[in-house]
Amino acid sequence: MRVPMQVSQQDEAALLARIHAGDESAMAELYDRYSGIVYGVALRVLGSTASAEDLLQEVFLQLWRNPRAFDAERGRLAPWLAVIARNRAIDMLRRRPVEEDIDELPISTGVNLEDEAGERMAIDKVRGVLAQLPQEQRKTLEMAFFEGMTHTEISAKLGEPLGTVKTRIRSGLLALRKAFA
């Protein structure tokens, strides 16, 4: 059910305008293009298909209710949805109150996530970079991002100094950035 063509920034703005006007087919297009990103992140964090489906429903329903929460001039939908999915999944995981509104800031990655081929290439590249990181660094990054653990919690769990945990996280992110520079 995915849309094979590339979605430009103007297309996204137009899609959101149609959603704002109540066009359900526009919502279906947007879902077909981006549900995989939201679902993948949610499933990775929550580890349960039922919970991931609930979160998927919640994110897209809130976008339907308030499409203006996303500013198409300041970023792209794919990274924005990925961050929303991650943050909300962490809230669910840690049993924190989940916000009613989606209010995360738009994000520009410079990475092509707007067509399937570009997205596939980016995913492969990210996995390649992560595979090359030392195991403990990869684990630290994953604990912070996908498990929502704080650096103090990670430090306690791994028995590593706080400074080591901090440095691993930053250098891991920079390694990813460098791969896409």
Partner: protein, 258 residues
């Protein structure tokens, strides 16, 4: 980020909400309030976390998720005045129609008790978060106020009424390199309910006055401009329709002494 390596690691943690030392968070937020370079780096780090998220993309949601969403949005009132509660759209508890009524009642009583607990904890949590956030904001403000008051290099200027006797007093303290202005007002008549006093920066280079914050009565106001480095020829205060505007409409009430 090369200029502030002391914040580099903390910034990466902050980008993924993994920093948990309140003192460190407050210090970093105060720094971010004044450092464009670190704010840009924070945006870059947030974009880097998106790359990390990509590593989990692959599994596709089942078709039933799409159908569920489309049904839900079809049932949504478009642009209703009041948002619908998530409980309305939640899945129906099918067991209610199947379980014996007695069991349902017992469970309902237990659920109400649990719901009360959850709501109480949630309220408490939200209040604590709000208190922490307020405290951090106040600390940040106090630190900056102190630094401005103590900085002998900051530009100080007293504004006096143009026509009236000089009882009310406005003092501005401005640090162009940070884009911060601190204003202290005393002896003012409170603004009418539908009006506000508005402070304006008069650029050294000429051009339109730049809005620098609004206030209603005596006290202290701190304003940060989006762009640092604007040199001020002076400051002025007008009274504007609430909540204030981007161009002065009212007459100048306070200006630097000529």
């Amino acid at each position: 980020m090369n200029d502030h390596p002391q914040y580099a690691d903390s910034l990466a943690l902050y980008a993924m909400e993994a920093l948990d030392d309140p003192r460190e968070i407050a210090e970093l937020q105060a720094h971010l309030g004044t450092c464009g370079e670190c704010r840009r780096e924070l945006e870059n780090l947030r974009a880097d976390t998106v790359l990390l998220a990509l590593s989990s993309v692959g599994p596709q949601p089942p078709q039933r998720s799409r159908e569920r969403l489309m049904k839900a949005i079809a049932a949504e009132p478009r642009r209703a005045a009041e948002p619908r509660s998530r409980f309305v759209l939640g899945r129906q508890p099918r067991w209610l129609s199947l379980a014996p009524i007695g069991v349902a009642l017992v469970l309902a009583v237990i659920s109400i008790g649990m719901l009360r607990d959850i709501l109480r904890l949630r309220n408490k949590n939200e209040k604590l978060q709000a208190q922490l956030s307020d405290t951090m904001r106040q600390n940040e403000l106090a630190r900056e106020v102190y630094s401005m008051l103590a900085d002998s290099q900051a530009q100080r200027m007293n504004l006096v009424p143009v026509k009236a006797p000089s009882q009310p007093q406005i003092r501005t303290i401005y640090k162009p390199e940070k884009g911060h202005v601190l204003m202290l007002a005393s002896g003012l008549h409170p603004a009418p309910d539908d009006k506000v006093y508005e402070l304006w920066l008069l650029p050294m280079s000429g051009g339109d006055p730049i809005p620098a914050g609004t206030f209603r009565n005596d006290g202290m106001m701190m304003h940060s401009f989006d762009t640092a480095g604007i040199q001020a020829k002076g400051w002025a205060i007008t009274m504007e329709p609430a909540p204030g505007g981007t161009k002065p409409q009212g007459a100048i009430m306070f200006a630097p002494p000529s």
